[in-house]
């Protein structure tokens, strides 16, 4: 079935609502408005306003309510419109959802799934263009997922909801319109990174909204005779480093692509792990292609210049292969 990433998310949410009466979707404008990215369009008609629950603009309050609902036995899917506003709710995510099981000596589960859109590239300017994945990936007790394909958008929610612990799903807004054929009954392993394109000369490691750019770069590089393997990390915490290491031990060269600002980025964590665990497998210094260290500007040419692009990925690969 050919569907968009947006449809895939919706179908996954719908399946979850049908399968388990404890599941509900809550967030700003998920109901009557149909979701700010139209992901939940129509669901309120099918499931009603109790299970497709519109919230006021109270990120701390409704995320905390989601945490409480999860502790109380529901399986809430809480949508924060974008990662930018998730900053208002961080306390509930980090200080309760992530800590509670351990801090209570294992007594409480917080089976919440928190979804949020992320990323830049649509000229929404500095306050609406953050990529803060590494903030979340830093926190023990959270699982952080980044569906980068239509198939993952379709299949990730089920295991995320089955996880008795809090899961953060970060959806790059630039992906909602991509399309693909997705077979029925597809599943997703939320423990493992995925090889999106096998290759032998170079490992390109990425996740989320950067995957299409990296695949495009890999295609162009192939035309130049450079055979790059593309890895999609898919789960940012706990990181599946084995898959990265296995690739690197074959290719000996790596570029990590991440839309976050370079300093303090998740790409930095990946490069650090590589240096710690695979130093002598490297034939060249690893490189990161990240966003420039600047608030993302509105003007298109400046925004383009600030973000990882196919060109800058190719340039980094050339440096590493030289």
């Amino acid at each position: 079935m050919r569907i968009t990433y947006r449809d895939a998310m919706r179908l996954a949410i719908r399946d979850a609502l049908l399968a388990d009466p404890r599941v509900l979707l809550m967030g700003e404008d998920v109901g009557l408005y149909g979701g700010s990215y139209a992901v939940s369009k129509g669901l309120i008609d099918e499931f009603g306003p109790d299970r497709i629950r519109d919230t006021p603009l109270s990120e701390l309050g409704f995320v905390g309510a989601g945490v409480g609902a999860a502790i109380g036995g529901l399986r809430p899917i809480v949508e924060i419109m974008t990662v930018n506003f998730s900053q208002l709710a961080l306390d509930q995510i980090v200080n309760t959802a992530a800590l509670l099981r351990h801090m209570s000596g294992g007594q409480f589960s917080v089976p919440i799934v928190i979804r949020m859109a992320t990323g830049a590239g649509r000229q929404l300017a500095a306050q609406h263009s953050h990529s803060l994945e590494n903030w979340y990936a830093h926190v023990p007790g959270l699982r952080v997922l980044t569906p980068a394909t239509v198939a993952d958008a379709r299949a990730m929610l089920e295991p995320a909801l089955a996880d008795p612990d809090p899961v953060v799903i970060v959806e790059h807004a630039a992906l909602y319109n991509i399309e693909a054929d997705v077979p029925d009954g597809i599943t997703c392993d939320i423990e493992r990174a995925a090889v999106r394109r096998p290759g032998s000369q170079m490992s390109l490691v990425t996740y989320g909204g950067s995957l299409p750019k990296v695949l495009a770069a890999a295609d162009l590089l192939a035309a130049e005779g450079i055979d790059a393997e593309v890895l999609d990390l898919r789960v940012l915490r706990p990181l599946d480093f084995d898959t990265v290491a296995a690739s690197l031990r074959r290719t000996h060269r790596v570029v990590v692509v991440d839309e976050g600002w370079k300093s303090g980025s998740l790409a930095g964590e990946v490069v650090a792990r590589i240096a710690e665990e695979c130093l002598f497998d490297l034939d060249a210094p690893p490189r990161r292609v990240c966003s420039a260290e600047v608030p993302i500007p509105y003007a298109k040419h400046l925004e383009d210049a600030a973000l990882p692009q196919v060109d800058s990925i190719i340039a980094a690969v050339r440096q590493v292969i030289a």
Partner: protein, 321 residues
């Protein structure tokens, strides 16, 4: 106040025509990103800002084109900003949601709902400590009232007795969420009592009513009586942004409000009062259209910021502080 009444109408026309053109330019992809139109709500910004002084600080939201314009930011530089050009009032870095003008004490332009309120408290604190005489006027939507920032800011302003005028532009919806689906207590002005603060309500479709309410509340705040919460009851005629299918409200409701269009009704009033004749009204409209045409021309011709300047002003350049 004959002249003033004409200027009120003229400014409403300027906003309306500018934004109508913006909507067209959005279709032409000259303007990108988010574009939130103020059409229908013009009486709020116009009535309010005409009742304030140059010493006052203004904060608004992402729906702030009107506030910027009436505050005196040249339409050329607003339009250039929407285009993302270097001659824009934020050098093209902010776009529609982030119009700024330091010289006019126009503090933007924030895209995080509720985030202007704490800053308004701080600006008023600065004025108080530095013995400046302006007041701080912070505009925000009905949606922002649910945010914790509203609560914390109103308490701080009242506790510290600061000269802040908080203005709710209650257009009955936060995106697709009707007020009654967001607020247990829909009488928003009444919330001031929880902060021992005075409050009032005015008809946000009537520019003179808004002017009077702001003059009154602003005078109170200016007089050292502490902060005030003013609720303006208004309505947006257009979609929330350019991406909105408007599934959440009836055509009939929208049409009902459109019959109260602040511009047509005020035009009629000025004609009825003999302040203007229809030709005079048309003249204001035409002047507005001309100004818009010129602004578009300006924006079209304006230069882009060089990519080489991308990193300027992240931090202050060394030695320049």
């Amino acid at each position: 106040m004959t002249t003033d009444r004409v200027r009120l109408l003229a400014d409403m026309y300027r906003i309306r025509r500018m934004e109508e053109t913006c909507a067209e330019l959005y279709g032409l992809q000259k303007i990108r990103g988010f574009l939130h139109l103020y059409i229908g709500e013009e009486a709020c910004a116009v009535g309010a800002l005409h009742a304030l002084t140059d010493d006052d600080n203004i904060l608004a939201t992402y729906r702030e084109h009107g506030h910027a314009l009436v505050r005196g930011v040249p339409m050329n530089s607003i339009m250039a900003e929407m285009y993302g050009k270097a001659s824009g009032c934020s050098r093209g870095r902010g776009g529609s949601m982030h119009l700024f003008d330091a010289t006019r004490r126009f503090y933007g332009g924030t895209a995080i709902v509720g985030s202007g309120l704490p800053q308004a408290v701080g600006l008023a604190l600065a004025d108080t400590i530095l013995a400046r005489h302006g007041i701080t006027v912070c505009f925000f939507g009905d949606g922002a009232v649910a945010e914790g920032a509203f609560h914390e800011s109103l308490n701080l302003a009242s506790l510290w007795h600061l000269p802040v005028l908080f203005v709710i532009e209650n257009n009955l919806y936060a995106m697709g969420t009707a007020l009654a689906r967001a607020q247990a207590q829909t009488d928003l002005a009444s919330k001031a009592a929880g902060y021992d603060m005075s409050s009032s309500v005015a008809d946000g479709m009537d520019v003179e009513a808004v002017h009077a309410a702001v003059a009154d509340a602003g005078g109170r705040v200016r007089g050292g009586w502490g902060p005030h919460l003013l609720e303006l009851r208004t309505y947006r005629f257009r979609a929330h942004s350019m991406f909105d299918a408007e599934l959440y409200r009836d055509r009939a409701e929208v049409d009902g409000w459109k019959r109260r269009d602040p511009i047509t009704s005020y035009s009629a009033r000025l004609v009825a009062d003999g302040v203007l004749d229809q030709a005079g009204v048309d003249g204001l409209d035409r002047a507005a259209r001309d100004e818009v045409a010129e602004a578009v021309e300006f924006a079209e011709a304006a230069p882009w910021e060089p990519v080489a300047d991308l990193l300027t002003d992240v931090h202050t350049a060394r030695g320049m502080s």
